[in-house]
């Protein structure tokens, strides 16, 4: 059976009205109306908050609020309900692809990307971004304003990092650091550090990745490239 579009839950802070899936406004309104109709004034006077699964525009939100008010519900202060955190409602989206120059990927939620982000490509998420590959393009985490979003990449060589409304450009020349790094906001600035400090002790020489070793080998003898397909 299909998931219900609207569910109403009672909590100590009041009613939490949740909207499931990617339904459009009309559908939500219809379902909400039916629910409230069914309750026959049971909810009258109760405090409520809206908990959408996708971000609502202010117009949409006020329309839904208006509808609830019509049935005698009273809007609650959102701050009064710490148990409902919109960030935790974000889905995790898994994508397996290579983003090439000029390509964009935008997701609502946390993104796990299996692939590389090339120079000139942009990846955006309203939550955090986890790139299981190389980041050479631009990544924008928390692009709807979530300042606690982070960006993780197995190889971090971005042209630009953005978290919420903060932008950072990597300092100095491009260098390959063959370990995962994590970027986050710290007192208004984006800081990048190795993922989990202490995983690679400083006194141990870091192994260079295979491809970095390969490129140092001079081209003295001709050899068919392994990727060559006849």
């Amino acid at each position: 059976m299909a998931q219900e579009v609207v569910t109403i839950k009672g909590t100590r802070q009041g009613l939490v009205i949740q909207f499931k899936g990617e339904s459009d406004l009309e559908e939500i309104k219809e379902a909400l109306k039916a629910k409230l109709e069914e309750a026959r004034g049971f909810f009258r006077g109760a405090r409520f908050i809206l908990s959408p699964s996708r971000p609502l525009t202010t117009g949409e939100a006020s329309e839904l609020e208006e509808l609830c008010r019509h049935y005698g519900l009273l809007p609650a202060r959102e701050t009064a309900t710490p148990s409902v955190r919109p960030a935790s409602k974000l889905p995790t989206i898994l994508k397996e692809l290579t983003l090439r120059s000029g390509q964009e990927l935008t997701v609502e939620g946390d993104l796990v990307l299996l692939g590389n982000v090339h120079r000139g490509a942009i990846v955006r998420a309203s939550g955090s971004i986890f790139i299981l590959g190389r980041l050479k393009g631009t990544a924008h985490a928390g692009y709807r304003g979530n300042t606690s979003a982070i960006i993780l990449a197995l190889e971090m060589q971005p042209s630009q990092l953005r978290i919420a409304s903060t932008v950072a450009v990597p300092p100095g020349p491009e260098e390959v650091r063959p370990y995962p790094e994590i970027a986050r906001l710290s007192s208004g600035r984006i800081v990048v550090e190795p993922y989990r400090k202490g995983v690679l002790p400083q006194n141990i020489k870091r192994p260079s990745p295979v491809w970095a070793r390969e490129r140092k080998r001079p081209y003295l003898t001709p050899r068919p490239h392994p990727q060559y397909v006849p």
């Binding site: 120059s101 120079r119 490129r215 081209y219 050899r223 060559y228 006849p230």
Partner: protein, 264 residues
């Protein structure tokens, strides 16, 4: 039924037209029936590179607009029996043909030929979209420059979006001496960035300029190393396994001695 292969790059001046002319000639030398289509309407060059400029009567636009039959517009090569050119129009622009017209044209051409090579214009606009419309396979040409590689990456993305077969890469104008000094990106760097299969590497060669000006593809010149590379690529297109050219031998002792004795 032949294959339709588009030769594209995104950036201009990296050698799409030279590559088309040489691969067309190479495949014809190997006994295939080949037609090259110049889709760079308004800026045609392929006819010049092949030395066929003065034989043009009808062109691509005349064909799609029905002013002539396809056979009338095809120009037979001076040197090779089974090589033909369908030239571009020089007075119109890219909007003169549509994607559907290109698809129909390619379908018609592949009935008659083993290979239809399409020389794509630079850019990603209508000319590019028309050029790839009727093609099944694509070859992406790049030079070892950051800008060219970046554009190639963009083009590969667009080709993937158009649901073509994964394109193959031709690296043009590489200079082994500069690569050795670390002043130029090497093959691995480019494959690393672009993540597609390599079809061939063409070294920088002065003879290309000479041959282009003379209207004779370099592949016909036995001394040209670029010509040799193009010949190898043609053979790879036919499914042969040919190792990459020994780029280091370019200015080796033997070559220098030969030159000294006037044999090179």
């Amino acid at each position: 039924m032949g294959e339709v292969i588009v030769i594209t790059s995104g950036k201009g001046g990296v050698g799409k037209t030279t590559t088309t002319a040489n691969l067309g000639t190479g495949l014809a030398l190997l006994g295939k029936r080949v037609v090259m289509v110049d889709t760079d309407i308004g800026l045609r060059n392929l006819d010049v590179v092949l030395g066929l400029e003065n034989r043009i009567v009808y062109d691509l636009v005349d064909v799609v607009e029905g002013r002539c039959r396809l056979k009338q517009a095809l120009i037979k090569d001076k040197r090779l029996e089974n090589l033909y050119l369908l030239p571009a129009n020089q007075t119109r622009d890219k909007t003169a043909v549509t994607r559907q017209q290109m698809i129909d044209l390619c379908d018609q051409l592949k009935e008659d030929f083993d290979f239809v090579l399409i020389d794509c214009p630079a850019g990603i606009e209508m000319g590019f979209k028309n050029a790839i419309a009727g093609a099944e396979k694509a070859l992406v040409v790049t030079t070892p420059e950051v800008a060219a590689v970046r554009d190639a990456d963009r083009i590969i993305g667009l080709l993937e979006a158009a649901e073509m077969e994964p394109p193959r890469l031709i690296i043009n104008r590489i200079r082994p001496d500069m690569v050795r000094r670390g002043d130029m990106m090497d093959i691995d760097d480019m494959l690393e960035i672009l993540a597609i299969d390599l079809l061939g590497v063409v070294p920088e060669d002065e003879l290309i300029v000479v041959s282009t000006n003379k209207g004779e593809p370099a592949i016909l010149d036995k001394r040209s190393r670029a010509g040799q590379a193009y010949y190898n690529i043609s053979r790879r297109l036919l499914g042969e396994e040919v190792p990459l050219l020994n780029l280091e031998g370019n200015e080796g002792l033997v070559a220098k001695l030969k030159k000294f004795f006037g044999l090179g």
